[in-house]
Symmetry: C2
Subunit: 250 residues, 2 copies
Amino acid sequence: MARVQSIERAFAVLRELSLGSAGVTEIADRVGLPKSTVSRLLSALEGEGAVQQRLESTEYELGAGLAALADAANNDANMAAVVRPFLLELAEATGEATGFVVRSGRNVYWADNVEQPDEAVQVKSRTGFYAPMHSVPAGLALLSHLPTHEIESYLTQPLERVNDRTPTEVDELRRRIAQIVADGVLWSFDDLGDGITAIDVPFRGASGQYEGALFVNAPSYRFPAEGDTERIQQLVVDAAKRLSGRFKVH
Amino acid sequence: MARVQSIERAFAVLRELSLGSAGVTEIADRVGLPKSTVSRLLSALEGEGAVQQRLESTEYELGAGLAALADAANNDANMAAVVRPFLLELAEATGEATGFVVRSGRNVYWADNVEQPDEAVQVKSRTGFYAPMHSVPAGLALLSHLPTHEIESYLTQPLERVNDRTPTEVDELRRRIAQIVADGVLWSFDDLGDGITAIDVPFRGASGQYEGALFVNAPSYRFPAEGDTERIQQLVVDAAKRLSGRFKVH
DNA sequence: GCCGTTGTTCCGCAATGCGGAACAGTACCG
DNA sequence: CGGTACTGTTCCGCATTGCGGAACAACGGC
């Protein structure tokens, strides 16, 4: 895949701003670039409407041009708008944070997140970020439910090693995928070594294909509560089924 | 404003894709770049999740990563989701296409559009595109309702001449702004020499400031119908008022 | 008034992106 | 079935573009 340094850097900046407004120096620190470089990138992005400076501030934020561009891609009701009520319901029923990812090529993107306002400790939202499917549980759950030829195609292309917990052995991935298919869901207990437990369940989109995955996640020390695993699982599986039904073309 | 050629080109490509999926050659033709350049830009954008190739196709479309990025910027209900019912209502009442723009810095962006399915001839949607406020009627309507110091700040910076109909004389712009303020609305009869008549009315956003403008537009030969000007104007002004009320923080 | 910090601008430099050419793949037609 | 036309990808020589350190302007706090 061709790399264009300026575009990679520009999107790195945009992703930082998706977490909230920030100044030049702060963004430069986070993305590891000189302030002059970040300043120039922001200026160029401002010219494209992708960012703007906040009123009475030197901080930048994402611009309406980006939202308009993205909205133009979604002629129908935004998927997030359809999914969100299910996330709210799941968050209420489970007492933990919920969210969903959508697939884009070989990657999944964190599309939305519902946090638990009452919990001081919870998993940080990753909305706006993306990762190769095989490298995160929600992506694996989704990958497992794609058509067999697409799974094979995915596995035969180079598997990026995102971190030292990323599975890249094709045989190992095939075993995990088979297990996920057999179980119907994916429970990941601290799979990334980050103290997070999550349950991930894929759902079908308007195309009839699996396009996204719902998840509930929380720190492993409290989730799931003892004897609560089956209930949590039933809730998420049920939500994914009803959600798939919502997207079904009649 | 600093220019970064690669970023400008990348966004030109993204804007083309906001109009619908397209192949490398088609995009190259539209943006006036060699196919190798467009291919490389698309590949890089794909790496960022901003575009993806359609299933069973070589055509590219906007990617979920872009939508996720933009959604991340909108923690509250998407402005378009709030405005759209008003556009549908206005389209129904006027029988013509409706839409709205939002402000981003010195520019306005076409955020949404409702077409008239029954009309063979209507104004083409510009959703996803942007222009400096002073160069288009909707932008002028919005500019006119900003705080005085912001209007002055806008006018004292270089005014880009987008085309040969773009007003760039500060005195002329001040007169037009004063007239718009006096009228409360802006009717533009073929102002850009494109055979379009439009009525543009700004509305306030969640900040309490004017953040967008509603418009109804149609070919000048049939809009507004004889004796219908007052009714159309009342409809749009009323919609803008109620819309502003919806965003009002209680 | 001084200091610290942020954001912008400048400019020498070389790395990066460019684009023409070549090539591979695919679909269509005779 | 072979030839043609078209699309999309890859390569590579080239020089334009983006980079980043330094300097500077602006602002807020003490």
